[in-house]
């Protein structure tokens, strides 16, 4: 988790986005110190609901940059992910995936997850970048907790992307229903030996299976009007002058606040 935070902080810095404009709805409980360090607004929501919570934040104040952190690997929140992608809601979804096969690349690896991690041992995982891409997400990438620089670049890039972006991070991260003690220490070593960078790979081919090495990289980067852009275009074409475009004027800052003067 620490390495992801580092990458996130670097990414924010590189992107030029002001940290105070970033909101992180998450179903993983961050440490307060981490949030303090990042300087973002943090919302720990119910399991799986970070994306709709983020949708509300974004539509409530379209000036915000919303970065939902998903720790449940699309189990509870899968539906919100596919619908967010379809709408092209302006969110950067960071999906922490701590699933590792018992055997990958012909090599035996300690079972990282007990039977009750988000996937049980006899379950197969999603190919999350492919799922996101098929539903309409603009930007899909996957990195492991080792690829900090690449991850930071990806985050910086995706933060400035207009539309739904998704970065999957393979990490032995604390998942809030698995105990940290289950996570064996040599997972990082395993990532090192078993991952291969292939940028622009067709997301179809990046599934994680026991036979193949884990493909990481930036897979897709498309352009498409965002939800609010489509909304404003469609409604002004139908309603004309009667329509008040949504989110174009930043809402009045009644509470004062630290950014009040900007």
């Amino acid at each position: 988790m620490n390495s992801i935070v580092t990458a996130f902080a670097k990414g924010i810095e590189k992107s030029g986005v002001k940290p105070s404009m970033i909101c992180v709805p998450s179903d993983i409980p961050f440490e307060p110190e981490v949030v303090d360090f990042l300087g973002v607004d943090f919302f720990h929501t119910t399991r799986g609901r970070a994306i709709p919570f983020g949708t509300g934040l974004k539509l409530g104040n379209p000036a915000l940059k919303v970065v939902p952190f998903i720790g449940d690997m699309m189990t509870l929140g899968g539906n919100h992910f596919v619908h967010g992608s379809r709408r092209n809601m302006e969110l950067l979804v960071i999906c922490i995936n701590n699933f590792v096969y018992k055997k990958i690349g012909g090599q035996s690896v300690p079972k990282t997850a007990p039977a009750f991690s988000p996937y049980s041992t006899f379950d197969e995982p999603f190919n999350i970048p492919h799922l996101g891409n098929s539903c309409g997400a603009l930007y899909t990438a996957r990195w492991t907790a080792l690829h900090i620089d690449e991850l930071a670049n990806s985050i910086a890039e995706a933060l400035n992307k207009r539309g739904m972006s998704m970065i999957e991070i393979l990490a032995p991260g604390p998942n809030y229903y698995t105990d940290i003690k289950h996570i064996e220490s040599n997972v990082l070593n395993f990532y090192y030996e078993n991952s291969v960078i292939k940028n622009n790979e067709d997301p179809r081919n990046v599934e994680i299976t026991p036979e193949k090495k884990i493909v990481v990289g930036k897979f897709t980067d498309k352009e498409r009007p965002t939800f609010l852009e489509t909304y404003n275009t469609q409604l002004s074409s139908v309603l004309g002058d009667k329509f008040i475009p949504y989110g174009c004027v930043p809402p009045q800052n009644k509470s004062g606040g630290r950014n009040g003067g900007d």
Binding site: S20, M21, C23, P25, P29, F30, P32, V35, D36, G39, V40, D41, F42, F43, H44, T45, T46, G48, R49, I51, P52, F53, G54, T55, G56, L57, K58, L59, G60, N61, A63, L64, N79, H80, V82, H83, Y231, L235, L239, K242, F243, I244, Y246, P251, N253, K254, S255, G256, G257, R258, N259, G260
Partner: protein
């Protein structure tokens, strides 16, 4: 504070309760509704969707009810007034996030147009069986406010009131209406914007560095800021301290959750609104809410013609429940008669608060329709005749029940 004139469609209308609620939300300054279609509440969403674009507001149809409620909590933290609209089954799905709303002390309004249940039940017909759910449906301890309007005009007025209460006490407010009121078409008068008083959000105005998101004022309600204003918020659904940071010690849990419940319990007198008529000198009082209160009037009138002194007590705010009021009245009367479109929910509260001082007669109705006023009349007559004390809720056997399950005793315990 006055409301935004763009959002008020001043005039006299002939509309149904759902539409009135949609227009009421807009008039109250609500600029974000996340919803999911469910009979019989869709008209409210449709009405809002029609008027929203020309008032700078947004309606988004989310993928499900879980998403709807999560999105409106998010929107509330982004600084706007938000609402969702649903009915029984959708309401059940929202339970987890209602707890989140209570925990994060998020002001929002939830409109539940009740239908006959359980499960899918009868989607197009009325019921009042979600009343206890609105109080107890989410896990853990919390308190919230529930309002039961009984006409389209009230749907408009009380939607505005609901937003005001939500902002005032920073808690979710439920509008527990029902299909009859939702689909009833009546005259609705929408006043001019200057006449609509709305409660502003309790924004923090002090020094940014001294802001503590969950530090309560004297009335136990903390002040809010908006996301993105540079306060570096840490907001969690875990039990947290004044800074919002999670804590894991039990003593703090008690203190925190105690404040969550006390901010409603101790401000109860300011929140509760009841309408009473003919109470003084009454021997029987009919306690009702929502559509049942309109049906009850007919039964009460008939009983009065017969010379029975009947009082009419209507709960406008059902939660928090007016414990003391009922307790006082119980000492002066023979019995309460409680007509509800369910098999006994609020009647248990009446029973509890009457402390054995007055008899309590339930006139049940399974839903999918409203009471036959004759049943209410009969129950009043029965209650007035009864001399001794009867322990527990007396369940009146309605004509409908007798016609289906056979005659038998008029009353059953």
């Amino acid at each position: 504070m006055k409301t935004d004139p763009r959002a008020v469609k001043t005039g006299v209308y002939y509309i149904d309760g759902d539409v009135a609620a949609g227009l009421g939300a807009l008039a109250a300054g609500c600029t974000f509704i996340g919803g999911y279609p469910i009979t019989p509440s869709t008209e409210a969403a449709e009405a809002f969707a029609r008027v929203a674009p020309s008032a700078g507001a947004m309606f988004i149809q989310m993928e499900d009810e879980l998403g709807s409620i999560a999105s409106i909590i998010g929107a509330a933290w982004a600084g706007v007034k938000s609402m969702t609209i649903t009915s029984g089954p959708g309401y059940s799905l929202m339970m987890e996030n209602i707890g989140l709303g209570a925990m994060l002390e998020t002001p929002f309004v939830l409109l539940n147009i009740q239908r006959a249940g359980p499960s899918t039940g009868v989607p197009t017909k009325t019921g009042q069986a979600d009343m206890m759910q609105s109080r107890w449906g989410s896990h853990g301890d919390y308190e919230l406010i529930a309002i039961a309007p009984d006409s389209p005009q009230e749907m408009f007025d009380y939607t505005i009131k609901a937003f005001n209460l939500a902002e005032r006490y920073r808690c979710p407010v439920m509008i527990m209406s029902d299909e009859c009121v939702g689909h009833m078409t009546e005259k609705v008068v929408i006043p001019r914007a200057e006449e609509i008083e709305i409660e502003p959000r309790r924004f923090y105005t002090g020094l940014p560095d001294e802001y503590l998101p969950f530090k309560p004022d004297a009335d136990l309600v903390p002040k809010m800021v908006k996301a993105g204003d540079g306060y570096n918020l840490y907001i969690t659904g875990l039990i947290h301290d004044e800074r919002g940071y999670p804590v894991k010690n039990e003593e703090f849990k008690s203190a925190y959750v105690r404040r969550l419940v006390d901010k409603i319990r101790l401000n109860k007198d300011k929140i509760i609104e009841i309408k009473e008529e003919g109470i003084s000198g009454a021997e029987v009082i009919v306690v009702s809410y929502g559509i049942s209160s309109r049906v009850a009037v007919r039964g009460i009138e008939r009983a009065r013609e017969k010379g029975i002194k009947v009082g009419n007590l209507r709960l406008v705010t059902v939660w928090p429940f007016p414990d003391e009021k009922i307790c006082e009245l119980a000492k002066t009367i023979k019995a309460f008669v409680v007509p509800e479109i369910n098999y006994g929910q609020i009647v248990y509260e009446v029973d509890r608060c009457s402390h054995g001082k007055a008899n309590v007669v339930l006139v049940p109705h399974g839903g999918s329709g409203v009471h036959n006023p004759d049943d209410i009349f009969d129950a009043i007559v029965y209650a007035a005749k009864q001399e001794g004390k009867i322990e527990g809720v007396v369940e009146y056997k309605t004509k409908l029940e007798k016609s289906i399950f056979g005659g038998g005793n008029k009353l059953k315990k």
